[in-house]
């Protein structure tokens, strides 16, 4: 059992079909982990396609990745790591009942996620200017490989799906921020921060793999 005894006091967010708050917390967390498994396999389909095509056309990946900017990819990696850190700090603040710090940390997370998306926006629009569009709209002569469009399709799909997850995460962070400002969270009840945090870390982990797979091919 937990160090603190939440079993006797019922938070106003306690649901009747659980025995105590601990059970509710553990259940929510396990549910989130199971959902993360589905996320892994959803991205897994795209990663599998990536692996198949990379093993078929290694030259394509070497040539095409020169069009990606390692510096900004690296900056985005650091930005996401930072946001993971602040989410973890927000959970810690909640556990220690530092209600002000919850909001501050969630706010920083939201801001960092926005920075990530802004950088992503500039990366994509820069490519669009060069004529590097996904799929059949691909119109760029700089790469001497007949399947160059496939590489960029994979690039747009994988970073795009990841970007959608970042946007969803931003929505969740905004919601958490709003709730924390309404004083919903304390050391007795911080389940939404905990499980949203898990989701956010998984988004971070996926980027940790996307970064070397697209930007760091030599």
């Amino acid at each position: 059992m937990a160090d603190h005894s939440s079993s006797t006091t019922h938070s106003r967010f306690f649901q009747h079909h659980f025995v105590d708050a601990d059970q509710q917390f553990e259940t929510a967390k396990m549910g989130m982990w199971i959902f993360l498994v589905t996320e892994i396999l959803m991205f897994g389909g795209l990663f599998a396609a990536y692996i198949v095509f990379r093993l078929w056309y290694p030259d394509l990946f070497t040539q095409a990745s020169t069009q990606l900017n390692t510096f900004w990819g690296g900056v985005n990696t650091v930005v996401l790591i930072g946001s993971s850190l602040t989410v973890a700090m927000a959970i810690k603040s909640a556990q220690l009942n530092q209600k002000k710090n919850i909001a501050i940390n969630l706010g920083i997370t939201l801001a960092l996620a926005a920075v990530f998306m802004v950088i992503k926006y500039f990366e994509w629009t820069h490519k669009f200017e060069l004529g590097i569009f996904p799929g059949q709209f691909y119109d760029f002569g700089g790469i001497e490989h007949e399947k160059a469009n496939v590489f960029f399709s994979l690039y747009y799909l994988m970073t795009g799906l990841h970007g959608i997850h970042v946007l969803i995460g931003m929505g969740l962070m905004g919601w958490l921020l709003w709730r924390s400002l309404k004083n919903h969270f304390d050391s007795e009840y911080y389940t939404p921060i905990e499980i949203t945090g898990l989701y956010w870390h998984l988004v971070d982990i996926i980027w940790i793999f996307l970064f070397p797979l697209f930007y760091l091919i030599e």
Binding site: G31, M42, A49, G135, K147, V150
Partner: protein, 582 residues
């Protein structure tokens, strides 16, 4: 902390016995009434009932399409509909039956209703997600119907590229609909696994878990591992059509066989999403009507998990003639044979349960007997199809169609009907007409065999599936098959008739009409809104038929104290005698 573990101390605990009410004044159907209460309910029982109504509706729609397809095949050329309409009809029959009926039928409808009752829980772990799952299902269904009305689809339910990425019609809308339904399925899976892990009643250890719960557990594992891959694959088809991304379309530099890998990574395990919960129903019904402890409890429980695992290793047997590497074909063929082992273990254990049991052939058991014969044929022909050399000949013929329908209709639908008949008194509080139930079961069994046995024959003679025209030598087989489908349809209509009739004129059911030992039968018939007035304490297993009935119906003699007004209930049941249990 697990509730089950935290109470598993060895000291003696005081437990009180509560007799269930046969026809309580208050139950889940009348405690909250009105349309709005139904639409916003988070009660797993009502959601289960809504799912049951929805899948029945789509079974009806899909069934009508099947009858139209069969009627068209009465003559070798055009009988009464255009070839293109025919293509759309069989596509929709497949897509509706698979995604809107078979996948949610047992888990989301019966599972939702029964699982928390069998676990001694007040609800599933995430009641709101459960409701969301139902609305996602409805939304997906509406999008799919919208796609049908706006151009239709003619790809077959398998959406093979490059045809699906280039053909006209509303394929993009349709895959979007299926994508949404996939999320509904994922949410059910997440909910069930968490519920089974976290919400078991005190004393309900893993070895006292009912086999229906075990089968739902295995099903949920497949749902969460396989469905997301389908989601991304369908999204890729949509992208292929909108952007021409060139992952699957060879004209754009992609590989169509890759689509088949991704698709079958979901869709092969998906047939186990459909059938494994049916296995769970079989175990419950067999034990109840044999008045005997289930034979080989752990073998049945673990073989469900084994099937769940092996189902992910065999998808390539759908692709023997697709041009995949022969190495892959050989490995997949070998692995496919392995599925027969856990399935065989189940069949043997079920028959062994019947051995020397006090068999009471009520209609649920009769449906299960039908299941045995039909599923055995379906399963064994699956082994035939798993061998590469034979499959090259039989691939995409009516042999495959017959095999699939023997497993899905003969296996899964018979098990579903058994489950519906078995739990009907608990759900509705009414008994149906037993004689009519037995007659209908016979009609369905005969009709099914008349429909699909000829298909084995013409399939092995080379009649390809999905064809509009065929050569005249197959006409007698097709005509017998069509007549069979009408008999089959009649049987299903009959079931529908007497079940609906029982709601109005049926005899009132007692709390435990079958004398079952399982937990869901130890509470009121038509369960109360929150299932258990008293937190049940589980001492006996769900199949302990060697123990007298008095030892069941146990609960803690204290109120749960969460403000649901259960203090009064204690007075009602205060005559329950106290017993000591370890």
């Amino acid at each position: 902390m697990d509730t089950a573990e935290s109470s598993s101390t060895s000291k003696k605990i005081q437990v009180q016995r509560f007799k269930p009410d046969d026809n309580p004044d208050k139950h889940y159907l009348n405690e909250e009434t009105g349309l709005w209460a139904w639409l916003t309910t988070v009660d797993h029982k009502k959601i289960g009932v809504m799912f049951l109504s929805a899948v029945t509706f789509f079974f009806f729609i899909g069934g009508i399409m099947a009858l139209l397809v069969r009627t068209e095949l009465w003559t070798p050329a055009k009988t009464f509909i255009e070839a293109n309409t025919y293509n759309q009809l069989f596509t929709l029959h497949g897509a509706i039956m698979v995604f809107l009926f078979l996948v949610p039928a047992v888990p989301a409808a019966l599972g939702n209703f029964i699982l928390p009752l069998q676990l001694g829980a007040k609800d599933v772990a995430f009641p709101k997600l459960n409701l969301l799952s139902f609305y996602l299902y409805l939304t997906g269904a509406f999008v799919a119907i919208f796609a049908i009305l706006n151009g239709g689809i003619d790809t077959g339910w398998t959406f093979y590229t490059p045809y699906s990425s280039t053909t006209g019609g509303a394929v993009t809308t349709m895959v979007f609909g299926v994508f949404i339904i996939g999320f509904s399925s994922i949410l059910t899976g997440v909910n069930f696994i968490t519920t089974i892990h976290k919400l078991r009643a005190p004393g309900l250890t893993w070895d006292k878990l009912s086999l229906f719960s075990w089968s739902l557990y295995a099903t949920s594992i497949i749902q969460i591992l396989a469905t997301p891959v389908l989601a991304i694959t369908l999204a890729l088809i949509g992208m292929e059509r909108i952007l021409g991304i060139g992952i699957f379309d060879p004209a754009m530099g992609g590989d169509p066989v890759l689509f088949q890998h991704f698709f079958w990574f979901y869709s092969h395990p998906a047939v186990y999403i459909m059938i494994v919960p049916g296995f769970g129903v079989v175990s419950e019904v067999i034990s109840t009507f044999s008045r005997k402890h289930i034979f080989g409890y752990w073998a049945i429980a673990l073989s469900s998990l084994a099937i769940a695992f092996i189902s992910f290793l065999v998808w390539g047997h759908h692709m023997f003639v697709s041009g995949q590497a022969s190495l892959a074909s050989m490995v997949f063929s070998f692995l496919t044979f392995l599925v027969g082992i856990p399935t065989g273990i189940k069949m043997f254990n079920w028959t062994a349960t019947l051995y020397k049991g006090s068999i009471d052939i009520k209609s649920p058991l009769l449906y299960i007997f039908g299941f045995f014969f039909l599923f055995l044929v379906g399963g064994l022909t699956g082994i035939v199809l798993a061998s590469i050399a034979l499959d090259v000949h039989l691939h995409d013929t009516y042999y495959v169609v017959a095999h699939f329908h023997f497993v899905m209709v003969g296996g899964m639908v018979m098990a579903l009907l058994a489950g519906v008949h078995y739990w009907w008194p608990k759900i509705t509080g009414r008994m149906y007409n037993e004689v009519m139930a037995k007659i209908a079961c016979g009609i369905i069994f005969v009709g099914f065999n008349v429909t699909f046995l000829p298909q084995f024959v013409m399939g092995s003679q080379g009649m390809p599936r999905r064809y509009f025209n065929y050569i005249e030598q197959f006409q007698p087989f097709h005509q017998v098959s069509t007549i069979g489908s009408y008999i089959l349809g009649l049987g299903f209509l009959m079931v529908f008739y007497y079940l609906v009739k029982s709601l109005f004129t049926g005899k009132k059911a007692t709390a435990n009409p079958w004398g079952s030992r399982a937990l869901e039968w130890q509470i009121n018939t038509r369960p109360p809104l929150h299932n258990f007035h008293h937190i049940p304490v589980i001492i006996n297993g769900p199949y302990d038929y060697h123990k007298p009935m008095e030892e069941f119906q146990l609960g803690l003699a204290e109120s749960t104290g969460d403000g649901h007004g259960q203090q009064s209930d204690i007075k009602v049941t205060s005559d329950g005698k106290e017993i000591n249990a370890e």
